[in-house]
Symmetry: C2
Subunit: 247 residues, 2 copies
């Protein structure tokens, strides 16, 4: 028995998220089925981030145990021959039995992409939020730095989430304007349910000057989801990468 | 009665090309249906380029006659409320009764986009050809300049096409390497069926050094489709813009 870690890229547009569900087309089910088609094994994969419907990944990390004789580094190429073309394995390697994509992770990095012009928008419908409003970029950037650090992010967590500890540490939160794109890069030890989509929704309210960056202090202190901004659409969100201790 | 010209952008992925067909989802049918939904008129639109299934447009030009009282410049915004989000009207204006999107055109410009790395390819499946081969760029660029000018392009026309005059003038043919993209920009007084996809397929053969740029002279002279390279996939092709005399 061998444990394999893989880095996976996918276009989430056609899927009901990562996690296997009854009667739904998911990334997990698709990868597990492709492994079965490759070598006849029924494996159960675990992932670093259980991305929602429509959310994309540039560097999702998965792991599973296999009795197969396929060399660990060859798994990526072999599995790509079975996967649909909206899921690609970028790399594969052997890891120790105790490696867990989620619990072993030190940090995860997500990006949220906004497309800032009408022209060309048809090509970004699935890959960005299209927003052409005038936005106060510097105030939004000031808000990002207020979010950095360790806080109770309950106000930025979808209600109904089963977690009981809302404390997370955002090690980096940076908003960039790059040509026709605005992109949020956010790195933390973990994220609450819908946290980044709510943060980005709140940043847009600040950009519209409906809120000021300083309001974030009272929003965080309130621990009240209703005080933060709206949850933005999933198609702008990308699981960028996951950091692990070196093995 | 008023004649309206519109500039249209679309993601061709979900359509069986521009032109109306029985039992097929086409751009033309979608726009005509949206005009009907907007004001109850059954119009027939004509376009500058009858793009094939999967081909995109940044600046397709269409025209139609209407008895509607919608001001010409308002048509764009009004029709966008009825169109699906993969078709957008970028601009609308009144034109004289003799304006024809195809026959009045002086030049058309198309682009063919190639995505040159494996990472990120899932996001370009519908919007570019993914090709990561080593290619001899300078030789391909030399080939582009040989194609410029007036030639009989029969060797670059899909067989079975009903045209009888294969002479066209390419006023500009430029291949650019820009970061992870390679892009062909080609401008001519008109294009034959599949001409750009065959030209790009031939340029790739030259890039692979299976042909030299100088072979183009004998390929053109042969007027034989079998001498040119393969027809590339439609999803890399964009109708960029159409030039008209000033009205």
């Amino acid at each position: 028995m061998q444990r394999i870690k893989m880095i996976v890229e996918y276009d989430g547009s056609a899927y009901h998220g990562f996690q296997r569900q009854i009667n739904a087309h998911t990334i997990q089910a698709e990868i597990e089925q492709s492994i079965y088609n490759l070598n006849g094994e029924r494996v159960s994969i675990t992932a670093a981030g259980r991305t929602d419907a429509g959310v994309h990944a540039l560097g999702q990390v998965i792991a599973f145990n296999t009795g197969s004789s396929i060399p660990p580094e060859r798994w990526a190429m072999a599995l790509n021959t079975k996967l649909p073309d909206d899921i690609r394995i970028l790399a594969s390697q052997a890891v120790t039995a105790d490696f867990h994509p989620r619990y072993s992770a030190l940090k995860k990095k997500y990006s949220y992409l906004i497309y800032r012009q009408k022209q060309g928008a048809v090509f970004y419908r699935r890959y960005a939020l299209v927003n052409t409003e005038v936005l106060a970029l510097e105030e939004m950037q000031r808000a990002c730095s207020i979010l950095e650090g360790t806080h109770d992010f309950r106000a930025f967590c979808a209600s109904g989430s089963p977690v009981t500890n809302w404390r997370r540490t955002i090690s980096s939160c940076v908003l960039l304007q790059q040509g026709i794109f605005m992109r949020l890069d956010i790195e933390a030890d973990g994220f609450l349910y819908n946290m980044i989509r709510i943060i980005m929704g709140t940043l847009l309210e600040i950009g519209r000057q409906k809120m000021s960056a300083d309001n974030l202090h009272s929003i965080l202190a309130s621990r009240d989801r209703a005080k933060a901004g709206p949850t933005l659409a999933p198609q702008g969100l990308y699981l960028h990468s996951v950091d692990y201790p070196s093995y």
